[in-house]
Symmetry: C2
Subunit: 160 residues, 2 copies
Amino acid sequence: MATNKLQNELKKKRPFESPEQEAALNVLRTNDQLQNRFLRLFREYGVTPSQYNILRILRGEGKPMPSLEIGERMIQVVPAMTGLIDRLEKQSLVRRERCLEDRRVIYIVLTEQGEQLLAKLDDPVAELHRALLGHLSKSELAELSRLLEKARQKIQLEKE
Amino acid sequence: MATNKLQNELKKKRPFESPEQEAALNVLRTNDQLQNRFLRLFREYGVTPSQYNILRILRGEGKPMPSLEIGERMIQVVPAMTGLIDRLEKQSLVRRERCLEDRRVIYIVLTEQGEQLLAKLDDPVAELHRALLGHLSKSELAELSRLLEKARQKIQLEKE
DNA sequence: CGACGATACTTAACATGTAAACTAATCGCA
DNA sequence: TGCGATTAGTTTACATGTTAAGTATCGTCG
């Protein structure tokens, strides 16, 4: 075929220079659309995707964590954490607690309100995942995850 | 197996709730890492990924375009375009030109400097794509693109 | 021809992400 | 002991993306 879907979606006049570039743009575009949908869902509950991510990480860990450690599990660079935590604290979804043994460290504690918000979001989030990606078969989803994981291998290595 | 790669990467203690969620997080994480690498490359040349994207769209079109039309080809919402164009204009990579027939419309024109910057970036960009994704076979890349395109079908339908 | 709605774009206010520079506390080791 | 390097976190400055509201221009219909 002379043109393909993404090319058409982007109204590109020329074909892609390489399958690598096409795949990279597909990742970018799919991510943008997914993020956009979750952004809207989270907004109904007063949080942003990043804020939700932090709450999820805290719940997953099951106990307070230093903010840098949370940052490591996200893609984010350190300074972004400060403001993010500031806003979560303002909503009383987390609490800062200085570590007594090492006074440089500040633990982030998930509050009761934070737990409750997460609980309220569990079903809508799972449902949105299904609504957006449920038309792919289990084996397609598994293959997609496999390919994306393989894609990241090289990227991470180069990261140093 | 009890755990998988992404689960491990995220230091998650519990498995994913669904293959849909796992795939969505894989898209997110892969995108972040890809974007991060391109961010660094573009920065060496004084532009950001969004700015580069605009220049590419202009070159692809081959003639000046209204800024809203450029915005449509990106994921972006309208107001972001103004600042983006402002900064490109400050670097003399594009130029604003008011349309004489319809004075509401402002055409964005790729300048000679813009063309030159794009030309300088062509090789490094292609090379980075290969460096980051070249370890996937052609058929894997094709399958990845196919799955991502299929993933977007539902997302787009659900839009607005 | 003149007001009203639509269209193209801008402005403002805010959340996020990046880099660079800073502060405070701890560690290592002479 | 005590000084320099390291580590945790904050601040600042700026680019980007979002929503809501504003401005200018155009088209149309009464």
